[in-house]
Homo-oligomer: 368 residues x 2
């Protein structure tokens, strides 16, 4: 099986365009990964996710380990077969969701013990178990287990947490071992403290990973603190490995991060917003619940070719959102994922053609 290999194909300032080659297909970067939490990109069939332009989706270790269970998915042929997505899948380590969803968490050097938010049964996640689960799922890109300190933690707490995350990163990499055709990414932590981020980036490279994520952002620090953190963190990461900003974000978060040199993103925003009646358009975000759309015969976004925009009016979307029809969630999710992928297409083209500043100053970006 061929290796996972990152190829840079263009740069514009700090922004990079590339291809992450994997045995399951290429991932064009900058890439947005739709979130398929529990084995489904919510409200979408997998072929429709692909039609939006996605090269890769994300699966959540936490959700899948609890239900239907990683061993079960392995018996059923792995996550790709289970959810009928033949292209690459990145799985997180479960750490973030344990912190945000599970109850009665008890963190030790060994790992984290917690209760399932679904049925309360006790589970244990260690670096080794997190990597085992991702292997059972058949994930193409495994993420190390890290501890995600709560937003607002002080420097001492962040530093202590970082120490644990780095020891867990080393154990994760050892547990990952050598898996041809699969990649393992480390996760930079350290809050908004430059020296801790630098230390984390350097320690991870000593371990050696196929890619480097920036974690612990988009947790409430605000866009300017996030961008500042990227500004002082990314220079410590190797140029020849993909960089993944976890859980980000709004369109302008993504554009700003790409400008700073980030290659990969995931976020529930386009899918969750779609289920809540919110649409991203070049004219800004629209809440389709708003009564002003009740008689609006125009398409949601005249520049978009997704089914929501090609087949229906804003009035229809308004009506189906108000009536709680499933088709509203389907159409708005489809549109939002299409919109996000169009941003990525625009960014990749602008970087490859070296006209990033023109793209940024042009209509396409101003209207995001």
């Amino acid at each position: 099986m061929s290796e996972v290999r990152f190829e840079l194909v263009g740069a514009a300032g700090s922004a990079r365009a590339g291809v992450l080659h994997t045995p399951r297909g290429p991932i064009l970067t900058p890439a947005f990964m739709p979130v398929g939490t529990a084995g489904s990109v919510k409200a979408m069939l997998p072929q429709n996710v692909r039609e939006t332009g996605a090269d890769i989706v994300l699966g959540n270790t936490y959700h899948l380990m609890l239900r239907p269970g990683a061993e079960r998915i392995a018996r059923l042929g792995g996550l790709h077969v289970f959810m009928d997505w033949g292209r690459p899948i990145l799985t997180d380590s479960g750490g973030f969701q344990v912190m945000s969803l599970a109850s009665l968490r008890k963190i030790s050097e060994e790992g984290v013990r917690f209760q399932s938010h679904i049925d309360g049964h006790e589970e244990f996640l260690s670096p080794e178990r997190a990597m085992e689960i991702q292997r059972q799922l058949g994930s193409d890109i495994h993420m190390v287990l890290d501890e995600c300190p709560a937003f607002g933690a002080d420097e001492g707490e962040i530093e202590k947490s970082l120490g644990l995350s780095m020891r867990w990163a080393r154990r994760s990499k050892a547990a990952f071992g050598i898996q041809p055709g699969r990649a393992c990414f480390g996760i930079v932590q350290g809050g908004t403290f430059p020296h801790l981020r630098a230390r984390s980036a350097i320690e991870l490279q000593e371990i050696g990973f196929d890619g480097y994520a920036v974690g612990g952002l988009a947790v409430g620090e605000g866009q300017s603190a996030m961008f500042a953190t990227l500004d002082f963190t990314l220079p410590y990461l190797p140029v020849d490995r993909p960089r993944y900003l976890m859980g980000v974000g709004k369109p302008d978060d993504i554009v700003g991060a790409v400008l700073r040199g980030v290659d990969m993103f995931d976020c529930v925003l386009p899918t969750r917003s779609g289920r809540n009646g919110q649409a991203f358009t070049p004219a800004g975000s629209l809440n389709l619940r708003n009564a002003r759309f009740a008689d609006d015969a125009s398409p949601l976004d005249a520049t978009c070719s997704c089914p929501a925009c090609r087949q229906f009016s804003r009035a229809y979307l308004h009506h189906t959102v108000k009536a709680g029809e499933i088709i509203a969630a389907v159409l708005l999710t489809w549109h939002n994922l299409t919109f996000y992928q169009r941003i990525m297409i625009g960014l990749r083209a602008a970087i490859a053609e070296g006209n990033m500043s023109a793209w940024i100053s042009g209509e396409a970006y101003k209207l995001l």
Copy 2:
């Protein structure tokens, strides 16, 4: 615009196969019409409804008049444009839903006053208003307003209700007027009383309709009473007009009614069941919530080519039903509608080929 015209193409005993020609396309009969209550066949995109084999869908006057409103749909170009379904649409008159969903109903000779179940505002539905709404929606087949007596009403109540329904049928037809390319169907009432059904069928023919529905069944009387009512009612209906059994039903209800000479059906069962985790298969009805499917790698129905059966395992359907994923509703609805249309295809072929009894006694029917 061409007329609506019913062509009989085959018969086997009392069962008939035909084509209801309309300007928006042919409807092959026996036909099953998926229910698109509020401008959407729930959980389905219109192109996917068509892919299941549906020639026509049903829209509910009651739901659409309350939200988003018939005048609004007319301004937006009609129901076909609104919901992006270019093929025929049959609309009911709203009478049945007023009886089952609205509160504070007050029936008079003039019509029925009621409160919306959505926001409590008062509405009025008369035969003339019901026809006006259906015209505003742009429906291809309009149904007369009738009164639907509650199941268990005695003969005197049924007879009194029937009198009102027949007067309303006359007013409905007058209000429908002449609309080239559109059809108006009368509705036979009369409970399970042969002389009342006969009287209703004869009176409707005196008024003259493009098709005749049998209403007031599948309300709790049981299959044998329903079949008996068809047995003594259908002989009073003209051979050269389509016959529509409203709100029916389970697969074996449909087969039994087709054997007796019914041409058209509608029912929420395949769509509603799909949203509830239930699938119709040749091996019987399956509840995908059942834990026995958790490790079942086989397809839902190996004989079916819908996306649920072609792309996923029973284990995946079980998991997504349990997890409340929208994809479960989408896939099971798609499958159930496909299954219903396969029954109709089988019935039409068996009738056209004159081997109805072979089909009935064969695998296909026994396994329904």
